[in-house]
Symmetry: C2
Subunit: 241 residues, 2 copies
């Protein structure tokens, strides 16, 4: 019997926002794998750190942090090979994933290489989408709203037409696109309805009206949420300080 | 000191998919509130049932199950009044919410009535969106995909134009709209790329290619996921039986 490949969503960053199932599988793991940048520690591993058993075998998947962040295929080929050997030996492998494995996650690169040969189970996690809405204290969607999720790196033209068709809009991966996106939303008359969250649920999180944000750049883990119907929106008092 | 209002996402249905934080707050609760239909037990309460302490005070919010499911304002007015009295007395109230409180959730009706007067914390949960993708064993979004989430009750025309602009599409609350939506997707040439999930993560869940689905109606908690780039998509073998 081969082992099972688990892709486990850890949620947005606060370890308490992982699921009971993620917690159970991590605390019982013999082998874990996780993405890691070549410039520092793994964010996914840091979320799970307090629950990782001693003497676990760790398989870091070190991906160079280039601007476009598209993975080098060879890195995933090599990681899949190492993980396959563990699975063939009958041991499960738990892959730690920020947020949800199938929501803009790099887990898909392992999944597409291994799911045909091994039993694979994906454990969904809390996405940054609803974690950011919770921090902004504003519903993401209700009733018959259409929600559109747009990656920040898309062109102004691509973003503009998608915003026009939705009631609720999330722009993910804001990063270095912040000044451009802010200008675009001002042009569309939506700046006052836009909220901004970076590193949601972590101690260093930042929550702001987009209009009040004074920085010129944002980290990769940042999001703009727009609720078009909500013209008089302001942050609740607890965040206004 | 007034109590805090907690809106707690419980995830899609499997109790193990609630977060550690939801678990902690529920097991320590003195007062819980939850939506309930007038026709049977509360789904939200059933997810949390095994963790609800004895002798907890329960405030069911009984909402008539009319076709459009839009809440009667008076019911939420009355519930908010009862909850406000508890909060004013210095006791926290934990509101149990299916999925995520701010993702098409009825929690917003309490939130809009109470968040101005009381401290409110929203604990995000796993949404049906990623829970369904996990069950279909197919990534929801990757790289620079645009995702659009569309409520099934919208008109064909509204749905058609939104599908055209996205790479990944989720149609929520399929219910009685199933035959119409299936016909629309066939017309758009997308039936073969569509997956169907009802009651994700529960023992009675159903997972299928939409093209293979032979029923004429679906429950309220059902979803169609379309990944347009994925032309040769089939369900993995474990679900094909």
């Amino acid at each position: 019997m081969s082992g099972t490949l688990y892709g486990i969503g850890l949620g947005p960053g606060d370890p308490e926002l992982m699921t009971l199932k993620a917690h159970r599988l991590i605390t019982a793991a013999q082998v874990i794998a996780y993405p890691a940048p070549d410039t520092g520690p793994s964010f996914a591993r840091s979320i799970a750190a307090e629950f990782i058993p001693q003497n676990v075998r760790e398989i870091p998947i070190v991906v160079p942090m280039r601007v476009d962040r598209f993975p080098a295929q060879q890195i995933y080929d090599k990681a899949a090979l190492e993980i396959a050997q563990v699975l063939e030996g009958g041991t499960d492998v738990v892959v730690l994933c920020e947020g949800d494995p199938f929501f803009y996650g790099s887990f898909m690169y392992l999944f597409e290489r291994l799911s045909g040969r091994f039993v694979c189970e994906v454990v969904p996690g809390v996405t940054s989408l609803t974690a950011c809405a919770a921090q902004l204290q504003r519903p993401l969607t209700s009733r018959t709203d259409v929600l559109t999720v747009i990656p920040g790196p898309l062109s102004d033209e691509d973003i503009r037409c998608r915003i026009e068709d939705a009631q609720a809009v999330a722009i993910m991966k804001v990063g270095r696109h912040l000044p451009r996106l802010k200008a675009l939303l001002e042009e569309l008359g939506l700046l006052e309805q836009a909220g901004y969250v970076e590193r949601a649920s972590l101690p260093e999180q930042k929550v702001s009206r987009l209009a009040d944000l004074d920085c010129e750049t944002a980290p990769y883990f940042s999001m703009i949420l727009i609720y078009k119907g909500d013209e008089a929106w302001t942050l609740p008092p607890s965040f206004s300080s």
